[in-house]
Amino acid sequence: MPDKPRYQMAIDLERCTGCHACSVACKVENQVPLGNFRTKVYYYDEGNYPQVRRWFLPVVCMQCVDAPCLKACPTDSIRRDDDGIVRIDTNTCLAHGKCEEACPYGAIYVDPQRNVADKCDFCSHRLEVGMEPACVETCPSAALVFGDANDAASPVARFHEKHIEELAVLKPEEATKPQVAYRGLRAELAKKVAKGRNHDPRSYEIETWAQLRSEFPRENPGDD
C-alpha cells in the first residue's frame, strides 16, 4: 500500500434503498444541528401511474479537487489535504458563509450553534482510528463504498475496477472534479441538489418528490 492514502467514495444508486440510515448516522456522529446536513438523501418519483419508479440520491461533500468552497473562503480556512479530503480550520473560520454560497452541492453549512462552517470530512476522526465513515458503516444495502483509492484491495478501488464504465459525477458542468462517484446516476437528478444552500426545508417534503428542482419559492408567504 502506498504511504499516502487518497480517500474516495462511490455510491451505487442501484442498491440504495433510500433508508436515511446514512444521514441519521451522520447527524448523530457529527452532532449536526437541525436544519443542516452533512449527508442528505433526495427522493425522485418518475413516471405516470401505473408506470412509476422512485429514485434516491444520497449526497455528501464531493471532496472536490477543484473545490469552490475553498476558493470562496475569505479567511483561507478551507484546505484540501494530501489524503484528498477537504477540511475546514474551525479556529480561523469566521462564518462568513461564502463557502455555503459557492458549493454546487449544498454540502456545506454554517453551524448556527457554533458559528463555524461545517461539512462532511469522511468522518476523519474515525479514519484516524481505523473506522469507516459512519454512513458507510451503517449502510444496510452496501450502496456506499469507501476507501483508499491508492490501495487496489480497498472496497472503493475494487468497485472502480468493476464498474468504471458506469460511474459518473454529480454536476460535471461545475468542473469541480468530485472525489465521490455515482453508479446509476441519472443526470437530471442533480436538479434536486441546491447550489449555494445547504437545506431548503421544502426539499424533504413529499410533495417535492416528483419535482426536478431545488428552489421552492414560498407562494403563500402568509404562512410564516
Binding site: 448523530v28 419508479r53 422512485r54 448556527p112 461545517d118 473506522m131 410533495e207 414560498r218
Partner: protein
C-alpha cells in the same frame, strides 16, 4: 394522608386546591428540578417560553461551544440489542465518560451485522431527550387533567402493591391487567401475571400481524413467520410488504434482498396499492384494488397448474390436497377473473406467474400487512403461501424457508425456578370467544376490542398496567373510544403507565413510572435467523438509567416481591440482571468465564456447528424418535405417547420414509384446513377450509365517490414511539393524504389543498357493521402518480399531542414536558432554536392522527384489525394552504 406529606388520594383534589400550592408548576419550562412532593401540570401543546432554559448556543459573532469529534480511542464498546422497532438488531454502543454517543450494528449478529437503519442510529437521542420522564408521578387532579405530583419509588410501590393486593384479597386476580406493545420482556410479564393469577395479558398483535401469522400456522404449522432466503433467490413475489421501510425483519431482509437482486440476479415484483420505497424500487410494481391480493395469487396458482409449471411431486407428497382436486378448486380463478377483481391486466398476472414458476424452486412469494390487514386477509395470505407449495420452494435455497427457533427457548435459556403455573380462569378480554383462530396457535388475542369490551361490561378491571402502548394514537377509534375508556375511572379504576416520555397513554394514567430505555436495560432476545441457525442476543445497559428511571421488568420483579408470599415466592432472585444471568447458564463460556459474560462481551451467541436449517419437514426421524411410535394407516401420520402421557403426532410416512413433516395436524402443507372448518363451525360459520377468495363486503359495488383509506409506515418511524426523536422527525413530520393525479383532477384537488376525509364503518363483519359515518379529518392533499386511483393513504406515526417538542413540532424553550431536572438532562438548543418544521414558524407541522377516524373492524375468525378496508369519502375544502 395529608397535604404536608404530599400524598393525595387520587382524584380527590380539585384544581382550586392545587393552584394554592406554592410548589405547583404550570407549563414547566425551566424547572431546574422538580422536588419530591412538588407538583406539575402537563397538558398537550403547552409552551412556557418565558420560563425556558437558556439555550447553550452562541450569540451572533461569537464562536460557540467547539465541536469536539469523538476520540474513539477513549470509548468503551458495549453490545446490546436495538428496540427502536421490532426487528431485533444486534448493536454496539460507544460510551464516553458514562454517556452513550453512537450506535452501530454488531458485526457478530447473524441478521443485521454491522448495519442498522435510521431508527437504530437515532436511538441515542432517546436517552438524552430533554423531555424524558425522570421521576415517578402520581395523578393529583382529575384523570386526564395533567396535574401530577412527584413521588418516591417507595410510595409508588406501596400504592401498586395495595391496589393489586386488594384484587388478590378479593379473589379477583383477573381484575389486574397488563397491556403492552413492543416489550421484548413478555417472559417477565407472563411470569408476573401468572404469579398474580391473572390471565389478562393484553397485546397489540391483532393490530399488527395476526392474519399473516395465522395463515402460516394454518398452512405449515411450524412457524408464524417465514424466513425468505432472499440472498440466494431468483424471484420474489411481494404481496403488500414494504420491507425497504418497515417489515418486521426490516434490515435483515432488506440487505439480503439487495444481495439477491444485484449480486444474484433476482427479480422483485411488488403488489401494493401505494408506491412505497419497496414498490418504487421493485423491478415491477402492480397496484391491485385493496384486498384483492388473494384473487391475484389464486389466479397465479391457476396459471401454474394450468401450464403444468408447478412442482407436482411436492403437491402429491407434501400437501393434504390431491392435485386433481386442486386443479378443480383453482379452475374458476382465471387471470381474467382476477383482472376484473383487482384491476390488474390478465396478461400481467399470467406473465408474472410463469416467470415465478420457471424460477422454481429458487423463488418465494410472501406477504405482509398490505395483503393480510383485510376482512379476507387470512385467506389472501394462505393463497400467497400456496404459491410456494406449487413452486416447491418451501425449505429450498432461495425459497420460502422457516427456522426452528424464533423465540428465546426456555428449555435452552431457563428462567430462575420456581415458575408460577398458568392461571386457569379466562376472561373475554384476552380470550374473545367470537374469534376462534385468535388464540388457537398462539395467544394473539384481539387487542382492538379491549376498550369496547371494557365499556360494554364484558370484563371488569380494577388495575390496568400499560407498557410500551400508545393506544390513544395507535388504536382505531383511539381518540374517541380508547380515550373515553382510559378517562373513565369506573371502567379503569387505577391505571399504571410505564413510559420513557410523557405519552398520550401516560396522560390518562394515575401513576407514571419512568422507564429505562432499551439501551439501559436487560433482556435476552432473538429473531428468525436469515443465517438459518438459531442464535440468542443480549440486551444490556450501555449506561445506567438516569435519575429515578427503572426498567419495567425490574419494576415487576420488585413489585412481585412485595405482593405477599404466594406471589413473592416466584421472585426469589435479585433483579432482571440476575434473571437474565440465570437464563444464560447453559451458554458456553467461549473465551470468557461463563456464558453470561460471553454474551456481555460479544452480544450474540450462535452455535455455528449446527447445520443450516431452511425447513425441517424433510428431516428423517431418528430411531429413538420412532421407538414406541405407531403410524395411522389412513393418514400416514406417526404418533407417539409423549412424556406427558399424551398421544402426539411426531411425523409422517412419505414414500416409505418416516419424516418429521410439518407441524400441522396432517403433518403436511395444509391447502385444505380441517382446523379452520372445525373452528369456524364453533361460531356457526360454514367454511370449507380452502383458501378461497372472499371479497371485502364493504368494497362490493363501491360508489364512485367512495374510496378506500389505507395507512402506512415510513422508514424513519414506527407506529408511535419515534416521533420524539429529533433526527427522525426532521426527515418525516407531516403526513398529507396521498391521492392519485387522475382522481384529484376530477375532484379539483391540488397538492397543498386542505381536504376533508370522512370515514364509514364496514357494512359486514363481526363488529358494528352498520356502514355509518365515523368521523372526519382535515388533511393537506399530496397529489401523486404513486397510488391506486381508488385509494387514499395517510401515514400513521404522526399527529402527536404529547411526547415533547420533537414529537409535536414546537420550537420553543423546554415546554410542558417532563423535563424535571436540568442537571440530569440539559436543554437541547436544537429543540429551542432549530426545529424548523414548527407550523407556527412556517413549517408543515406535526401531521394528523388518522387512526382517530378509522373504525374498529376485526376480521372474521381471526380478529385481525382490517386496517386497509376503511371506506371513506373526500371533499376539497376550498382552502389552498400551500401551492
Amino acid at each position: 394522608m395529608t397535604d404536608d406529606t404530599g400524598r393525595t388520594p387520587s382524584g380527590s383534589r380539585s384544581q382550586d386546591t392545587i393552584n394554592r400550592r406554592q410548589a405547583m408548576r404550570i407549563g414547566i419550562g425551566a424547572m431546574a428540578s422538580l422536588g419530591l412532593g412538588e407538583m406539575i401540570v402537563l397538558r398537550p401543546g403547552e409552551i412556557a417560553a418565558a420560563e425556558c432554559d437558556t439555550p447553550p448556543g452562541p450569540r451572533p459573532g461569537e464562536h460557540g461551544r467547539p465541536k469536539v469529534p469523538h476520540d474513539y480511542r477513549r470509548a468503551t464498546q458495549v453490545t446490546g440489542v436495538c428496540l427502536n422497532c421490532s426487528t431485533v438488531c444486534g448493536i454496539v454502543g460507544q460510551v464516553f465518560d458514562g454517556q452513550l454517543v453512537k450506535l452501530a450494528g454488531n458485526p457478530a449478529d447473524p441478521n443485521n451485522g454491522a448495519t442498522i437503519c435510521a431508527k437504530g442510529q437515532s436511538g441515542v437521542s432517546i436517552n438524552t431527550y430533554p423531555e424524558r420522564l425522570l421521576y415517578p408521578l402520581r395523578r393529583v387532579g382529575r384523570r386526564g387533567e395533567g396535574v401530577w405530583q412527584r413521588i418516591s419509588w417507595a410510595e409508588a410501590y406501596d400504592e401498586m402493591a395495595r391496589r393489586i393486593g386488594d384484587c388478590l384479597a378479593a379473589g379477583t386476580p383477573e381484575q389486574v391487567a397488563i397491556h403492552y406493545g413492543r416489550s421484548r420482556i413478555s417472559d417477565v410479564i407472563d411470569r408476573f401475571m401468572n404469579a398474580v393469577g391473572s390471565p389478562v395479558v393484553l397485546n397489540h398483535r391483532a393490530l399488527c400481524s395476526l392474519n399473516k401469522r395465522a395463515a402460516n400456522y394454518a398452512s405449515i404449522g411450524d412457524t408464524d413467520w417465514e424466513t425468505v432466503d432472499a440472498a440466494q433467490t431468483k424471484y420474489l413475489l411481494n404481496f403488500g410488504s414494504n420491507f425497504y421501510e418497515a417489515h418486521q425483519g426490516h434490515i435483515h431482509f432488506l440487505k439480503r434482498v439487495v444481495q439477491g437482486r444485484f449480486d444474484n440476479g433476482a427479480k422483485l415484483v411488488t403488489f401494493d396499492v401505494r408506491l412505497s420505497n419497496t414498490a418504487g424500487r421493485s423491478d415491477e410494481w402492480f397496484a391491485p384494488f385493496p384486498g384483492t391480493e388473494g384473487a391475484v395469487a389464486l389466479a397465479m396458482a391457476h396459471v401454474m397448474v394450468d401450464a403444468g409449471e408447478y412442482d407436482r411431486r411436492f403437491i402429491d407428497e407434501w400437501t393434504n390436497y390431491p392435485a386433481a382436486q386442486l386443479r378443480e378448486f383453482l379452475r374458476p380463478y382465471t387471470p381474467a377473473w382476477a383482472a376484473a377483481k383487482s384491476g390488474l391486466a390478465a396478461a400481467d398476472i399470467e406473465r408474472i406467474a410463469l416467470e415465478f414458476a420457471r424460477s422454481r424452486p429458487n423463488c418465494a412469494a410472501f406477504t405482509n400487512r398490505g395483503s393480510h390487514a383485510h376482512y379476507n386477509g387470512f385467506n389472501n395470505d394462505r393463497a400467497v403461501i400456496l404459491l410456494n407449495a406449487l413452486a416447491g420452494s418451501i425449505g429450498q435455497p432461495g425459497g420460502y424457508c422457516y427456522g426452528e427457533s424464533e423465540r428465546v427457548d426456555p428449555a435452552k435459556y431457563p428462567p430462575p425456578p420456581p415458575l408460577p403455573p398458568k392461571p386457569k380462569i379466562r376472561t373475554d378480554l384476552e380470550d374473545p370467544p367470537d374469534f376462534p383462530l385468535a388464540n388457537l396457535w398462539q395467544k394473539m388475542k384481539v387487542g382492538e376490542l379491549v376498550y369496547d369490551y371494557l365499556r360494554s361490561g364484558r370484563a371488569r378491571l380494577r388495575v390496568y398496567i400499560s407498557y410500551t402502548l400508545g393506544s390513544p394514537t395507535t388504536w382505531p377509534e383511539g381518540r374517541s373510544l380508547t380515550v373515553d375508556v382510559l378517562r373513565n375511572e369506573e371502567l379503569i379504576p387505577f391505571h399504571i403507565c410505564s413510559d420513557v416520555v410523557y405519552s398520550e397513554t401516560a396522560h390518562y394514567a394515575d401513576l407514571i413510572l419512568p422507564d429505562a430505555t432499551y439501551l439501559e436495560r436487560w433482556g435476552l432476545d432473538t429473531r428468525n435467523s436469515y443465517d438459518f441457525r438459531p442464535y440468542v442476543t443480549l440486551r444490556q445497559p450501555m449506561t445506567p438509567p438516569p435519575a429515578d428511571c427503572v426498567s419495567f421488568a425490574d419494576v415487576l420483579i420488585e413489585l412481585g416481591k412485595r405482593l405477599g408470599p404466594q406471589v413473592s415466592k416466584y421472585f426469589q432472585f435479585a433483579d432482571h440482571e440476575a434473571y437474565v444471568r440465570h437464563q444464560c447458564r447453559h451458554v458456553p463460556p467461549g473465551d470468557c468465564a461463563d456464558g453470561f459474560t460471553f454474551l456481555r462481551k460479544h452480544g450474540v451467541w450462535c452455535d455455528q456447528k449446527l447445520p443450516q436449517n431452511r425447513g425441517a419437514f424433510r428431516r428423517l426421524l431418528a430411531d429413538h424418535d420412532l421407538a414406541g411410535s405407531e403410524t395411522d394407516a389412513a393418514t400416514s401420520v406417526i404418533h407417539r405417547t409423549g412424556e406427558s402421557g399424551k398421544r402426539e403426532a411426531i411425523g409422517v410416512m412419505v414414500q416409505g420414509r418416516a419424516l418429521r413433516g410439518f407441524q400441522t395436524p396432517s403433518r403436511k402443507f395444509e391447502i385444505l384446513s380441517p382446523t379452520v372448518i372445525k373452528q369456524a363451525a364453533k361460531i356457526g360459520i360454514d367454511d370449507d377450509g380452502l383458501p378461497r377468495y372472499v371479497p371485502v363486503p364493504s368494497h362490493e359495488d363501491l360508489p364512485d365517490d367512495r374510496f378506500v383509506l389505507v395507512t402506512f409506515k415510513w422508514n424513519v418511524h414506527t407506529q408511535a414511539r419515534t416521533a420524539p426523536q429529533k433526527y427522525l422527525s426532521e426527515i418525516v413530520h407531516d403526513n398529507p393524504v396521498w391521492i392519485n393525479v387522475a382522481t384529484a383532477g376530477k375532484l379539483g384537488i391540488r397538492t397543498g389543498d386542505l381536504v376533508e376525509i370522512t370515514t364509514y364503518r364496514p357494512t359486514a363483519g363481526p363488529f358494528r357493521a352498520t356502514g355509518e359515518r365515523i368521523g372526519s379529518a382535515h388533511v393537506r392533499a399530496f397529489v401523486t402518480e404513486g397510488i391506486h386511483p381508488r385509494v387514499l393513504a395517510v401515514s400513521n406515526s404522526l399527529g402527536h399531542q404529547f411526547g415533547g417538542r420533537a414529537a409535536t413540532a414546537q420550537r420553543a424553550g423546554r415546554p410542558a414536558g417532563p423535563a424535571f431536572d436540568a442537571a440530569v438532562l440539559p436543554e437541547d438548543s436544537d429543540l429551542s432554536d432549530s426545529l424548523w418544521w414548527d407550523a407556527a414558524h412556517g413549517g408543515s407541522g406535526a401531521g394528523v392522527n388518522i387512526n382517530a377516524i378509522l373504525p374498529i373492524q376485526p376480521a372474521p375468525l381471526t380478529g385481525m384489525q382490517a386496517w386497509f378496508d376503511t371506506v371513506c369519502s373526500i371533499k376539497p375544502l376550498g382552502i389552498e394552504r400551500r401551492a
